[in-house]
Amino acid sequence: MTTPYLTTSDAPPRWSVRRQLASASRWLTTPLMPDDYLGLLNPLWSAEELRGRVEAVHPETADAATLVIRPSRNWVPHRPGQWVRIGIDIEGIRHWRAYSLSSAPQRPDGCVTITVKAVPDGLVSRHLVRRTAPGTIVGLTRPEGEFVLPEPPPPRLLFLTAGSGITPVMAMLHSLLTGGAAGGEGAGGGGAVSLQSEKHREMPDVVLVHSAPMPEDVIFGEELRGLAARLPNLRLYERHTRAGGRLKPTDLPALCPDWADRAAWACGPTEMLDEVAAHWAGRSDRLHVEHFRPAVSAAGGEGGRVRFTKSGREVDADGGTPLLTVGEDAGVLMPSGCRVGICFGCVGRLSSGQVCDLRTGQVHGEEGDLVQTCVSAAAGPVDIEL
């Protein structure tokens, strides 16, 4: 057993030897990288790029599945609630989407899980749920996001979720259960954290209010019900909207009288999150929300000719299509991130023209501005340095 202290203290020399070896071996592989050859043996041996191999796909409901993914060696453990981007090739084309990690950090087998709900007409979600076989190699990025538990976790928590919005909360629940809230770095050498640490900290008092159309649509339904039956500190309230109608924030006091005193985490459809945010007005410091979809409200700009100046591509774009999609379709290597306007992983520098923010309808932009391509469409001719 190595303690975290030991691991970090002998890390530097080992790393620098490895780095020197890597840079020496570049003389043998130029113009390629050693990685390009190592990848022939095992795609997960890449030192440069994060990747994952799908180890198993477990159906959760009729239209949702959990994918167990083994990340490559350079993986950094996540904090429960964080998300990653998954890159998957569909008909030869790589597509990236954000998915919350549904597993607690440091699973004994070293894998992580995402849980995906196939949305109607959804390109990536349907592919992941229905057509992804074990063995598939996917692109992966480092965990991101601030929808996480503080360390130490507060004594009383409220989770408000609907549909696939349960996924980040599942990771949080698991880590509360095993006693580590933040996960990641603090959790040490990995491996068996379970039984011992379950005692090491009392599980805080948790109320989970979850909505789904019908009982059988509840992702992790069985597991949640089992946990609630076993753990006195976990109260589960399921709302089946087909029969009971949508949950309104005004229903909350009846279900959880001390809702206002609890630190709250909410994840679900945009309308629900909007209502929740309105309900928490004045107490927003106690509320954390995670959006899975961009809050697109505006009809968009007028569109125009878009020039991607670094790649030398030019296309006509309509006013409702994000520049990110326009570029991807034109074969430009677009940087991308969450695709909903939060992470700023997709920005490009505007060299001329203006864009329309698809969330607000506001037309803006001056030369040199960094614009979020995932939520901006062309408002007239646009030159962007990508």
Binding site: T30, S311, V332
Partner: protein
């Protein structure tokens, strides 16, 4: 010597529309099989390279030396032609794989990818076979068309074409810097210098890899490894030179003047690409090893379509040319090579007199 005149403008536009249709069809049907193809070729090329280099480590046995060198030469040819040239054309950009993309690819060729994309994709593919514009057709370096004025220096062109074949990658790299445009003020010495520096940096790494690092790692096999690498590089150069010269210079390939380009429509452009290019007949192996430049015509019509699709559209293009009465030049590798050399030898001397085009 222009055939363009025999077509009515309306026919030219029809011809263009037919080609656009073929192009759209191919683009619409790109998918997993194509992605598998290029990834397969890349994996095969890398394995072949590793295998060739590994064999060379045991190259005190002459047959092993031959096998290792042949494998390495084949790998280097694939890397330059079916992979590098085509990736840099953006043929695989649609996959959105940053590892196989024209913006990120770098190749085992003296020309840095950026410089080459400009001189090749832009200059050569835009100005195909236009005298004074397409630097691929000689200009100052070589006389490949009777329309070019003769100078005594051209007497030496057979000799320097042999040298160019042997040191093709360096020749192309330096040639693309367009040093001759510095005295005329069209190019700043500073720009040329920074380009030359980038080339020097690449060449240095390549030379260290093939002629220092690998021989050293081979220890007692230092010399055979060095010679194997040198042979593989020379073979790759001669092969690339041969294929590329067969693409534009055999009998039948036409050249154009700048004024023929005035008001060029999309249809005209297609016709010029067709008339300026020649195919090489052969089997799948020849197509693969030539980077599918054996389908030079298809490549020039659709430079950014994935090369694995050229073979499938070639019969349709040929039929289309027949229908419109346009020539579709192709011949065997030996015939085309002979024809190229005949031209280079003949045009080393003054003449022959030309009939004005149009």
């Amino acid at each position: 010597m222009s055939t363009t005149a025999v077509l009515f403008p309306a026919d030219v536009e029809d011809f263009g529309r037919e080609l656009d249709k073929i192009r759209d069809e191919v683009i619409g049907s790109l998918g997993e099989q194509d992605a598998k193809y290029i990834r397969g070729v890349i994996a095969m090329q890398r394995r072949l390279e590793l295998g060739g280099r590994a064999l060379l480590f045991a190259s005190w046995l002459p047959p092993v030396w031959v096998a290792g060198t042949a494998a390495l030469a084949t790998a280097k040819i694939l890397e330059n032609m079916e992979i590098g040239h085509n990736v840099l054309h953006g043929q695989w950009d649609w996959m959105r794989d940053p590892k196989i993309h024209s913006m990120t690819w770098e190749w085992d060729f003296a020309s840095p990818a950026d410089q080459w994309k400009h001189s090749h994709n832009y200059i050569h593919h835009t100005w195909t076979n236009v005298l004074g514009k397409d630097r691929d057709i000689g200009y100052s370096a070589m006389r490949v068309s009777p329309e070019q004025r003769w100078y005594p220096i051209y007497l030496a062109q057979p000799l320097y074409n042999v040298l160019l074949a042997l040191f093709f990658e360096y020749g192309i790299a330096v040639y693309d810097v367009e040093l001759e445009r510095i005295p005329t003020g069209e190019k700043s010495p500073k720009e040329a210098l920074s380009q030359l520096r980038a080339i020097a940096g690449k060449v240095r790494r390549q030379i260290i890899k093939d002629y220092v690092a690998f021989p050293l790692v081979a220890g007692p096999c230092f010399l055979p490894v060095l010679l194997g690498n040198l042979t593989a590089n020379l073979a790759r150069n001669v092969w690339a030179h041969t294929i590329i010269f067969c693409g534009h210079f055999p009998e039948g390939a036409e050249v154009f003047t700048e004024d023929q380009l005035e008001d060029e429509t999309r249809g005209d452009w297609y016709v010029r690409q067709l008339l300026g290019s020649c195919n090489i007949d052969g089997g799948p192996l020849l197509h693969l090893m030539s980077g599918n430049l054996s389908h030079q015509i298809e490549h020039h019509l659709f430079p950014d379509l994935p090369s694995n699709r050229y073979a499938e559209i070639a019969p349709r293009i040929r039929a289309l040319c027949e229908r419109f009465g346009l020539p579709y030049t192709s011949g065997s590798l030996t015939r085309q090579t002979r024809s190229v050399w005949k031209r280079i030898l003949r045009l080393a001397l003054p003449g022959p007199p030309t009939t004005p085009a149009g």
